[in-house]
């Protein structure tokens, strides 16, 4: 294949950079327009119009918001721990983005005679045509989400404000509790798939024309994983860390300008990640009709599934009131955790008798 750099064809590097850019720009654009979509959807659900002034039906609103936040004054509280205060938004934002490295968003496409698997951290063995990816993909995602908690805890502590500290403490307790149940909920998926590689999990779900999706085999796990993920990324009805009626704005009270925007982006990027992960694990990933004939349909199906799940998140936000803190802990430790453990036991027993 023409020029080679360090033993790999030139096309490999081009494809890699292109995949990274496409995934990154997709997440960034989705994050920007998710804020608009959320306001618009909740507006219409509450019989309002939502943003209407900027552009046609308010379509330029995210850009206006971005420009506004960008030009705001940058304030660092005088009693804050400067280093932790400055680095916290980055720690919150980066894990949300790098999770996308292992999520497969399509099958194998062919560009100029070179086969490219549509997943960032993967390569194709040209001889056998088999796609290899990170074989601990799901663990990687769990590990990254466990790093996300630092951003919020540090933000809460470093601001040196009581509202921020309370928000940070709440957030960390909540994230740690629900991380556990989310992790246990997907254990039952591995028990069926026998692998931790996300690419393999997607391939296995392609059987039986849509009924091989793990949401049909593991409905309880899918449901619990989605709930726990909502709690882990602090979305309504679990948005206690930034409960504006009691805590001003929670852990990001003292933040302004782009640093505040980064927390906002982190929240929405986490939402994209969680929806992408749910789609991959339970809704067949990029599977759908005619993907074998037209490989480019894979990403289309994947994006459609992610957007539908994101719509569900917004729908939940418009519908449900916020949980109380003790109810939240009760739900996490006394309902979801035992249920996910029972689900594992049940999957094991049923699997033993079927095989």
């Amino acid at each position: 294949m023409g020029i080679e750099i360090l033993g790999l064809p030139m096309m490999y590097y081009i494809a890699m950079v292109a995949k990274v850019l496409v995934a990154f720009i997709f997440v960034l654009l989705t994050v920007a327009y998710a804020t608009y979509a959320e306001r618009k959807i909740i507006g219409h659900m509450q019989v309002r119009l939502g943003p209407m002034r900027t552009g046609w039906h308010g379509l330029l609103q995210p850009i206006a918001d971005g420009v506004k936040l960008f030009f705001k004054e940058e304030i660092v509280p005088s009693q804050a721990s400067t280093f932790a205060f400055l680095i916290a938004p980055l720690i919150a934002l980066i894990p949300a983005f790098i999770t996308f490295a292992v999520i497969p968003f399509g099958g194998v496409i062919e560009v100029a005679g070179y086969k490219i698997p549509l997943q960032i951290a993967s390569y194709i063995d040209v001889a056998s045509g088999k796609v290899y990816d990170v074989n601990v993909g799901v663990l990687y995602i769990l590990a990254m989400s466990s790093l996300g908690v630092y951003g919020i805890v540090l933000a809460g502590w470093a601001s040196n404000s009581k509202y921020s500290l309370l928000g940070g403490l709440r957030a960390s307790a909540q994230m740690i509790s629900y991380e556990l149940s989310a992790g246990l909920a997907i254990v039952s998926v591995f028990m069926l798939s026998g692998t931790l590689s996300l690419n393999e999990i997607v391939t296995q779900q392609s059987a039986m024309g849509g009924f091989g999706w793990y949401v049909f085999k593991q409905p309880l796990a899918a449901f619990m994983f989605f709930i726990c993920s909502l709690a882990e990324i602090n979305r309504t009805p679990f948005d206690l860390p930034e409960a504006e009626t009691e805590l001003v704005s929670g852990f990001c009270t003292e933040y302004s300008s782009m640093k505040y925007a980064m927390f906002f982006m982190a929240e929405y990027a986490n939402m994209v990640t969680v929806c992408a992960l749910t789609a991959t694990l339970f809704l067949g990933g990029w599977n759908g009709p005619l993907t074998a004939e037209v490989p480019l349909l894979g990403p289309v199906y994947f994006v459609a599934k992610v957007y539908i799940l994101m719509f569900v998140c917004m729908w939940i936000r418009a519908t449900l009131p916020r949980y109380r803190y003790d109810q939240l802990m009760h739900l996490g430790w006394k309902v979801l955790l035992p249920l996910s453990l029972l689900n594992i036991v049940a999957t094991g027993i049923i699997g033993y008798f079927i095989n």
Partner: protein, 167 residues
């Protein structure tokens, strides 16, 4: 490619390890320690042990360090930059010097051992690291695994009893 990557990661690991002991603020030290753990996880990946890498990040960076950060935050340790201790410098530098000599000696005189045991590197790549660990843990090492679980259970019950004022 791999050597270059190794060099970069090593540089980050060493710089963050130095920051752990040189930072005035304990929270910043803890953050540097997280960074060091992250670099260690990268080494595991380069040694074809992806499962160990994921566990390293999840357990050390994700769980234990969060606990340490919490403790530091709740104890609210004051940053005391004015006080300087000098009486420990002599002893510290002597210990450090001998550790350095020891390490250099080991590096120069030792030789790289070949991995022993039934599983070769090729086999691990073929069968999968996670699968092998799982298989070994639930067949040959089942008893230690069960004993560890009981130990953890006892620890949990103990923690609940300590935390609860009246039962």
């Amino acid at each position: 490619m791999e050597t270059l990557f190794f060099a970069i990661i090593t540089l980050v690991a060493i710089v963050s390890a130095i920051l752990v002991i040189s930072c005035k603020n304990p929270i910043n030290s803890a953050l540097s320690l997280v960074m060091t753990f992250f670099c260690l996880a990268t080494y595991y990946v380069m040694l074809d042990a992806p499962f160990m890498a994921a566990v390293q990040v999840m357990v050390y960076a994700g769980a234990i360090m969060v606990l340490i950060v919490f403790t530091i935050m709740l104890l609210n340790i004051r940053v005391d930059a004015t006080k300087k201790h000098t009486h420990k410098v002599v002893l510290g530098s002597i210990i450090g010097f001998f550790t350095l000599i020891n390490t250099v000696f080991l590096l120069l005189k030792g030789h790289v051992a070949v991995p022993t045991g039934p599983y070769s590197g090729e086999m691990i790549k073929q069968l999968g690291h996670t699968e092998l660990i799982g298989k070994e843990m639930f067949t040959n090492f089942l008893l230690p695994f069960e004993i560890t679980s009981i130990l953890l259970l006892v620890a949990i019950v103990g923690a609940v009893i300590l935390a609860k004022k009246k039962l």
